[in-house]
């Protein structure tokens, strides 16, 4: 018997993270609930006029998706850090780059993908024109993967800190901005009839870059956090 291959190991990690998430369903529900509640805040703050809301809808939906992603990314490594599993992960003979990707994939599946899938409901509540809903879902799917990758950098750097919650937002929000710009522009474009392909392509390019580089930073961050 020898160490498992890298791919089986990563799939096993992914499965472990997903099982952990689904055994505590409330943790999965929280970001969705957050999404719904903040959506309800905007008509209260901006007024219920449908035209106005539909004008702001792409930006609003993207900002809320971004915030709910941000709020959950803090927890990605925290429980593993607290119970010592993270030390074991660092000592494992498997490449940390790929095991970290498994963690991120799990996070993306239970927040980003889920948010993207329920977003049409909220889009309709905010009077987003129907022709833009498809682009909204696609841009959220792509964009939230980038958000998860970048958010985990912040999570890795702050996981060892007792009061990391607020700090992670300060570190990570600037890096979210390009994603927000192109994500909401894609939806905005779809509303006005501009083809969304180029925007989605740029989001895809960001995703490729993030997949290539973010795990390096996350691995370094985890080593530092465990060391401190």
């Amino acid at each position: 018997m020898s160490a498992p291959g890298t791919l089986p190991f990563c799939l096993r990690l992914l499965r472990r993270q997903l099982v952990l998430a689904f055994r505590r369903p409330i943790e999965i529900g929280n970001p969705l609930l957050f999404f719904a509640m903040v959506v309800a805040l905007f008509p209260l703050g901006l007024g219920p006029a449908p035209e106005q809301l539909s004008g702001f809808a792409p930006g609003i939906l993207w900002i809320i998706a971004l915030l709910s992603n941000l709020l959950t990314s803090d927890a990605v490594f925290r429980s593993d850090f607290e119970d010592g599993s993270l030390e074991q992960l660092l000592l494992s003979p498997q490449p940390l780059f790929l095991s970290v990707l498994a963690y991120i994939a799990a996070h993306w599946l239970v927040t980003g993908v889920l948010l993207a899938l329920v977003s049409p409901v909220f889009a309709l509540m905010l009077n987003l024109p129907v022709q833009a809903v498809g682009v909204l879902v696609a841009s959220l799917l792509l964009g939230s993967a980038v958000l998860s990758l970048v958010g985990c950098i912040g999570a890795a750097l702050t996981v060892g800190l007792k009061r990391g919650g607020m700090l992670i937002s300060l570190l990570i929000l600037p890096f979210y901005m390009p994603v927000l710009i192109f994500g909401s522009a894609a939806v905005q474009g779809a509303v006005t009839g501009v083809p969304a392909g180029p925007y989605l392509a740029i989001l895809g390019a960001m995703l490729c870059l993030a997949i290539a580089l973010a795990p390096l930073a996350i691995a370094a961050g985890l080593r530092i956090s465990v060391d401190a």
Partner: protein, 248 residues
Amino acid sequence: MWTFFHKLGSPPWLYSISGTILRWLLPITLVALAAGIVWGLLFTAPDFRQGNSYRIIYIHVPAAVVALAGYYVMAIAGAISLIWKMKMADVAMKACAPIGAALTFIALVTGSIWGKPTWGTWWVWDARITSMLILLFLYLGVVALYEAYDNKEAAGKACAVLSLVGMVNIPIIYKSVDWWYSLHQPASIKFTGESSIDPSMLYPLLLMISAFYALFTCCLLMNMRAELLEREARTNWVQRLAKQEGRS
């Protein structure tokens, strides 16, 4: 090359050489700064469209340029500290963040003050100002992360990682903000293009940019010296120094 690195890694050597550099550089910087300010404020003709308010350019642009360059200095120092585990690079990186944040702050405040007579409003979400604001956030993130760690060595490493991530992201952020602004461009607001700037305005600007670079270097060295003393407080050379200079 390697011996130079080794020397750089030696705190007493760095302390004394930076002292020598500062003795020359600081006066030169202050004179250049004063000369540039007087030149820009009093001896140049006003811009034909913006009038005298454009004189703010002599501090706004240098501060912005050096603030951005400072982030790269910080990130490179961070990379050196991560790769070669050089403690002095750690010290330099840590010293960069507050200086860069202060310069970014200057660029933002002067830009905002400049905006009032030019655009009639204190704040415009123009591409350059927005980018500067994000740069300020990036700097403050590094400072906040450093302060959050109790273990200062780990803090240095974490900030190095963060500043490297920032270095990769800054071009992306700048390009996206540029693009975003061109998408939403309000028509009437535009800078007088800096490419067509008159030489009589350009020379004092170049002088000020150089002076700001020198000033950044001076502040960096001074911060590093203070940081060095604090980190090396238990060593002989610092204690000797304290006996000589501490009793004033």
